[in-house]
């Protein structure tokens, strides 16, 4: 694994879409109790597609870079397809292999998003 990969450090140092969406359709917080990493997401939807995501929180380079990357790459994706995303997909989106010991760090952001989506997914 390479935390020093350019896109990881770039997203960690200059996180995209940081903050909270006004009039968000959904919001959700996810905490990793073993390390104190904390991510809150807010989402706007357009029908069954994701229109916008913002996040707030603090944590390690992997967790913060992962959520920052997701706030860009998931735009326009269907709720159904986002709910299907697994570890392998997150690795692909981040563009680096993630070691087992950093699994939770990489997944924290997507878990927050999926948890938020699950609150309404029954209706879609």
């Amino acid at each position: 694994m390479d935390i020093y990969a350019q896109n990881i450090m770039d997203h960690y140092k200059n996180p995209r879409n940081k903050g909270h969406l006004k009039n968000a359709d959904l919001s959700q917080q996810e905490i990793n109790t073993t390390c104190g990493d904390d991510i809150s997401v807010s989402l706007k939807l357009n029908g069954d597609k994701i229109k916008a995501i913002k996040f707030d929180g603090q944590g390690c380079a992997i967790s913060q870079a992962a959520i920052s990357i997701l706030t860009e790459s998931l735009i326009g994706k269907s709720i159904k397809s986002v709910l299907k995303l697994e570890f392998q997909d997150i690795e692909d989106i981040m563009g680096i292999p993630i070691s087992e010991r950093r699994y939770k760090c990489a997944m924290l952001g997507i878990w927050a998003i999926q948890k938020a989506l699950r609150t309404i997914s029954k209706n879609i």
Binding site: M1, I3, Y4, M9, K13, T34, C35, G36, C60, R102
Partner: protein, 401 residues
């Protein structure tokens, strides 16, 4: 005297890099003599203890009981006061479930300190749920040492029945002045339990000198095997406690409707014990004797001073706990670098460290930090390793700038 080469793992390379083992507070490495002793047991005289009248059983029982003598001498107790457990955690749980459940009542107070390991908090919280006892924590001073004024005040409260406290924190690495605390407790007839899981790897521990009622430690932190530990209990208190687990050595006789209890120390040793672990632990203690506490303490002081000077001198690193009586155990906060990233990246350089709250969430909350990076050294570490660590920390800082 000791040699670094006594520890075979330290010669290993991790992906081509020499191993820098800075995680001794989690578990210490094992010298060849301990590894050999465990192997010899399995190869030459593996059999069960205290059971059969055969030559193998005779050898193993002798070795097992010699190990008890070795431990008793090591902490200056009687052999009947040494109970073999799975580790420090089990020792504390044993005391909570037997002495605690039989002597504590709703409203009684157990005094801990805020720097306790979860293993010396949760068993008492369990009793809080079960019996309605209260728990009070001794606070700290700025430098990480115990606030003794507050401690004295807490111990003078009427319903305090137990003081359960670690001799040294696994995060701050500061030796607590337990003799004083225990003497205050004894004046008030407060029972005392010492968690020596950390301190026992850094200083000689003497239960008579401390004058405590219980003391626990784990074998693997003093260069012995995992899965074995010791509970020391003052004889008259152990005698008045009910047994913990039922079965095996704790039994005197069993009838259809009743059973009798074996004498000390077997009363608290149910089931086949960790024989290899106990024999390995005795071997580790013999290793310490040979290495010499004096030599260990001198080398650790040298490492501790060097680390404080070199790493403490870095502007972007803050070391928690700076009181003078410090073992080479350092919890650090690094500006703008999450401890998990630091431990992960340093690990790829061969530097083995731990990041997180180190099983001390209340302490981390108290210090208002979510996680720390911990370097915990032992006598076999070197100042050259500290230099290498400093170099890698500086590189890390640069990358995260």
């Amino acid at each position: 005297m000791f040699k670094r080469s006594d520890f075979p793992i330290l010669k290993q390379k991790i992906k081509g890099r020499t191993l820098v083992y800075f995680d001794n507070s989690a578990t210490a490495q094992k010298p060849s003599v301990v590894i050999k002793m465990v192997e010899e047991y399995y190869r030459q005289y593996n059999s069960n203890v205290h059971r059969s009248l055969n030559p193998l059983a005779e050898v193993v029982t002798k070795r097992y009981e010699e190990a008890r003598d070795e431990v008793a001498e090591f902490i200056n107790s009687q052999r009947e006061e040494i109970i073999f457990t799975r580790g420090a955690t089990e020792g504390i749980n044993l005391v909570a479930r037997t002495w605690g459940e039989n002597n504590l009542k709703s409203g009684d107070i157990v005094v801990l300190s805020i720097l306790e390991h979860h293993a010396n908090i949760v068993p008492w919280l369990q009793l809080k749920e079960k019996l309605g006892i209260k728990i009070s924590y001794i606070p700290l001073q700025e430098d990480g040492s115990l606030n003794m004024t507050a401690a004295k005040k807490l111990l003078s409260k009427k319903r305090v029945k137990l003081l359960a406290i670690s001799q040294a924190s696994n995060v701050l690495g500061i030796l607590n002045p337990l003799k004083k605390l225990i003497s205050w407790a004894r004046q008030k007839n407060i029972v005392t339990l010492v968690d020596a899981a950390q301190s026992i790897a850094h200083v000689p521990v003497d239960v008579r000198d401390l004058n405590c009622d219980f003391l626990v430690f784990s074998g693997h932190k003093i260069w012995g095997p995992t899965g074995v530990g010791v509970l020391y209990g003052r004889r008259n208190i152990l005698e008045n406690m009910p047994p913990f687990l039922g079965g095996g050595d704790m039994i005197g006789a069993v009838y259809q409707d009743s059973f009798t209890i074996n004498e000390l120390p077997y009363k608290f040793e149910a089931g086949t014990p960790n024989i290899a672990g106990v024999i390995g632990l005795a071997s580790a203690i013999r290793y310490i004797k040979k290495a010499g506490w004096k030599n260990i303490v001198v080398q650790e002081k040298k490492l501790s001073d060097y680390f404080m000077k070199k790493v403490g001198g870095l502007k972007f690193v803050k070391i928690l706990g700076t009181a003078p009586a410090k073992f080479p155990v350092f919890a650090m906060v690094i500006d703008n670098i999450h401890p998990h990233d630091a431990a992960d990246i340093l690990g790829t350089e061969g530097i083995i460290m731990r990041a997180g709250n180190h099983c001390t969430q209340p302490l981390h909350d108290y210090l208002k930090v979510s996680a720390t990076l911990r370097a915990s050294l032992s006598f076999y570490n070197t100042t050259a390793e500290i230099d290498f660590f400093v170099k890698k920390l500086q590189e890390l800082k640069k990358a995260f700038k």
